[in-house]
């Protein structure tokens, strides 16, 4: 089967498309991302030690583990709130708006995910994805929603006295199962990042190549105005 264009190959660049790097994530966005990543890791490790009896037996120190889990959970929304509370959060706010809005192409993209591989490739080649594809948008929505649900159910478990037993049981149910789901989703996120080193590096250093954007985010490339384009720098990546 003849696949359309293989974007990985080097194609001659039009005049205005100088080779160079684009700003994908600014300092604030990267700081929020990695703070969240560390807090999430702490939550997973301490949560596992609280939940799985064999681990509990090995780790012990339940009081310390419990307190660490609690504070990590309460701290999780803080970086995001801080980032959004000032002018420094401009890029983050814009990306959140991008997450929120789904174009027709995004919906097509998402529907294609469940189709056979050949169909999927065809759809992916046809749609014009913006800065984030529908999978990333879905991941963002899940993380925001599920994070808040974890916070609420965790708070009920910690400060349960006003709640009837059935609500505590419900909170336990939600917190346990959603934790499992959350770990699976984040694991998927990490695996995808490891499979795309350029994207991973852009979360570390902020910049990404124009070639990557042309392949993965063509509509974003269109959207960028001249002055937003990062000056070509040899030091990046």
């Amino acid at each position: 089967m003849a696949s359309p264009t293989t974007h990985r190959s080097v194609v001659p660049l039009p005049e205005q498309e100088r080779p160079g790097l684009l700003n994908r994530f600014d300092r604030v966005e990267r700081a929020v991302h990695w703070t969240n990543a560390v807090l999430f890791a702490v939550l997973v490790v301490t949560g596992a030690a609280l939940y799985f009896a064999p681990l509990t037996a090995i780790v012990g120190r339940r009081e310390l583990v419990e307190r660490t889990h609690l504070y990590a959970g309460l701290a999780l929304p803080v970086p995001l709130i801080l980032a959004l509370s000032g002018s420094w959060g401009q890029a983050l706010r814009r990306d959140i708006r991008r997450f929120n809005r789904w174009s027709r192409d995004d919906r097509r993209w998402l529907r294609a995910v469940i189709r056979p591989a050949a169909d999927r490739r065809q759809v992916f080649a046809r749609v014009r994805v913006g800065k984030f594809n529908a999978g990333q948008k879905a991941n963002a929505a899940f993380t925001a929603g599920a994070g808040l649900v974890m916070l609420a159910s965790g708070a009920i478990l910690r400060w349960y006295r006003p709640f009837p037993l059935s609500v505590r049981a419900g909170a336990t149910f939600v917190h346990n199962w959603l934790a499992l789901g959350f770990v699976i989703v984040v694991l998927g996120h990490v695996l995808m990042a490891l499979a795309d080193r350029q994207a991973l590096k852009s979360m570390l250093f902020g910049r990404i190549s124009r070639a990557w954007a042309r392949h993965h985010a063509p509509a974003w490339l269109d959207e960028l105005s001249e002055e937003e384009r990062a000056p070509a720098e040899q030091t990046g990546r």
Binding site: R93, I96, W102, S103, A141, R168
Partner: protein, 242 residues
Amino acid sequence: MAEVTSTGGTAGPAPEQGDKPIGRRAVLGILGLGGLGIAFGEHVQNGISDLLKPLRGTGLAGLVPGGGNFTLYTVTNGFPSPPPTYKLTVNGMVERPLQLSVRDLEALPATRLTHDFQCVTGWVVDDVHWTGVRLTELAKSAGAHPSATVFHFSSFDGVYTETLTADQADQSGAIVAYSMLGGPVSKGHGGPVRLYVPGMFGYKSIKWLSTITLTSVVEEGYWEQNGYPVDAWANGHGPSAA
């Protein structure tokens, strides 16, 4: 979120025909599901636990919530080790204070129970097998004074204490358990000997039991000093009013 804040000049994502705020809808949908889960999840979890029952003990069920898992609590760091020659002490307002090894306890008339373990924070393990000696029997064999209306318990972890009235011990059929889940009570579950109070929240079933003192005054235990009710019937009123 913040659809109004358009930053002048810079090229944001231009809202296009056909753009929908699906992200926000998805977040709200997840919040709604989470709320429903908290409100009604108890029934779902019970259903899941029932489905998992045949798998119990295979190790598979232990991997998912509701597969018969206990969450193990300690009030000190780690699980305490019993003294090398463990003896359960029964003292206080009694004619004959007792010093009982596990073997001594096993020689006494045994009571077998199959009953759930309900934690005050909401989780529950159904149909746990328990074997032990009825608390009221122990009191009798120690020759409890008629005015001794309260049991006070302490643990060899040095911190955990509990209390139970004679009436509660009688109504619940509380036992001093040396066997649980089909084997000796494990270290994590409070072995070698722990209390089990059917119908009451788990914190009443003190682990690593070392001393039972008969008194006439209710003295708050560890968890009660931390705000839990002294009267810990899971259904709110005990079996008599059921």
